[in-house]
Symmetry: C3
Subunit: 215 residues, 3 copies
Amino acid sequence: MSVAVYPEDHRATLARVLVVLDLIGVAVFAASGALAAVHARLDVFGVVVLATVTALGGGIIRDVLLGITPPTTLRQWPYLLTPLVVALIVFRFHPTVARLRRAVQLADALGLALFATTGTAVGLSVGAPAVTAALIGVITGIGGGVLRDVLLNEVPLVLRREIYALAAAAGAAVVVVGDRLGLPPGPVTLVGAALVAGLRVLALWRRWNAPLPRS
Amino acid sequence: MSVAVYPEDHRATLARVLVVLDLIGVAVFAASGALAAVHARLDVFGVVVLATVTALGGGIIRDVLLGITPPTTLRQWPYLLTPLVVALIVFRFHPTVARLRRAVQLADALGLALFATTGTAVGLSVGAPAVTAALIGVITGIGGGVLRDVLLNEVPLVLRREIYALAAAAGAAVVVVGDRLGLPPGPVTLVGAALVAGLRVLALWRRWNAPLPRS
Amino acid sequence: MSVAVYPEDHRATLARVLVVLDLIGVAVFAASGALAAVHARLDVFGVVVLATVTALGGGIIRDVLLGITPPTTLRQWPYLLTPLVVALIVFRFHPTVARLRRAVQLADALGLALFATTGTAVGLSVGAPAVTAALIGVITGIGGGVLRDVLLNEVPLVLRREIYALAAAAGAAVVVVGDRLGLPPGPVTLVGAALVAGLRVLALWRRWNAPLPRS
């Protein structure tokens, strides 16, 4: 009996952990969207819309790809209030314009880290194969930022010069391998997220450049 | 028995009303897409493609989010013929170039109004919770116009200076509240749509501006 | 008995043929994305990401519209390895810059041809009505290239001056008509694909222009 109870308890804990990490991801992606909107001189409504799209876009794409409809994000209040509150805070207390671009990239790095790893964990939790779950994790992580940049008419960060998709893939791989080894998913997700964020911040800070095509 | 018959009749009426309003929405969004394409000097094929994407995009996104696959829009002839006919009419009889931008925005306002409210009603009719239905309504209203602007490489109307998403949300709220109060959905949807279109036109006409971020 | 066996065998053959044509489509669309990325001077990671998005985008959109989740493309190794390998080959051995744009358009024409026709066949094989299947085929064919161009901040090929969506629709129509006439689907798909690619190449080569709006 206790054997049957354990995994259920385990699963409930995992679900709670995922929701918390997911909401933190929503908050930091909302911040990146709001900061980018301030940088583009949008008004307060534009800031709220861009923060919301950036924050919820990845999770909505994830759920549509997994066949979870309507997407979880559109069914729960915290997912809707978080971007609104974050957008208004950023609108009121954003950094000076000179620091906005750096702030966008830092918030984006954290959002990428959290969404790539929790997206992978959500995929595994609904029974997707390992590779599929990892890919959906990467898409979840990248999705919101791509929407943000495309709506602002910019080439997305994921196509620019520093390691981006590879960092997300590394984090997704950590979650998949941890799952295969039977390690506790909460800590594993955190380790994976730390790896993604660390790689991104290092790449930005050290200006790691990958080879360019010969011309 | 008559009790059982009434709501079914009611529902059939609602479905018919929604289809008619939805098709009017398709027609005006097709006009906005075609006018924008003429403004961008696309050829006749480009005008048809952009009209179709603008007209059908919101409804396709709505159905995918609600798990209705293949999307209704792709299953019924009127949804496909309407954008084609509208695009050809606009291509042949469009206003002078100076008036094109204004015409795009007027058609967009009507489409936003109809899609935001009918999208919410469709969401409610398939059993989505009130907030989810309202959000899906807003996404349905905004979706086609965003696709139109992104394909033309412009920052979408929804991020520009006048009230846009808020107008759509107001209309969605009218439909949700009307549904809760048990009011007849046809008239309620029309009232909601009139509110959205009225807000948008007023915002454009009076150049209502929301606060900008401090610099 | 043999009557019952025949269509099953037939269907298995069709499935195999579709997978092969689909993978060739993935490879040529990957090449078009990688070539466009080289043209835009992205680094090796950007080239891989853009090749993958271009190659898999259309099929993912197709599966989401048909309710096939998670999308087939995200569940099978060959679909993931192909864009990676193609991207690295293009990165290393791409043509001189002057020829890049022409190479993008040629690869795009082949991808459009294969995806529009196999997309239609997949739609028919899961029981979608003929018009729906044809439309989903056209969307499948156009989708990857639109994502490629939007991510690079360019107006998509489908909106530019030469026949594009019409070529895809012609190929989709061939597949639908062949299916109605009970013709063998493998050859029919190939004929449809040849028609699309032929129309596109002719349109590019002869600079077929459609009428512009009066100004």
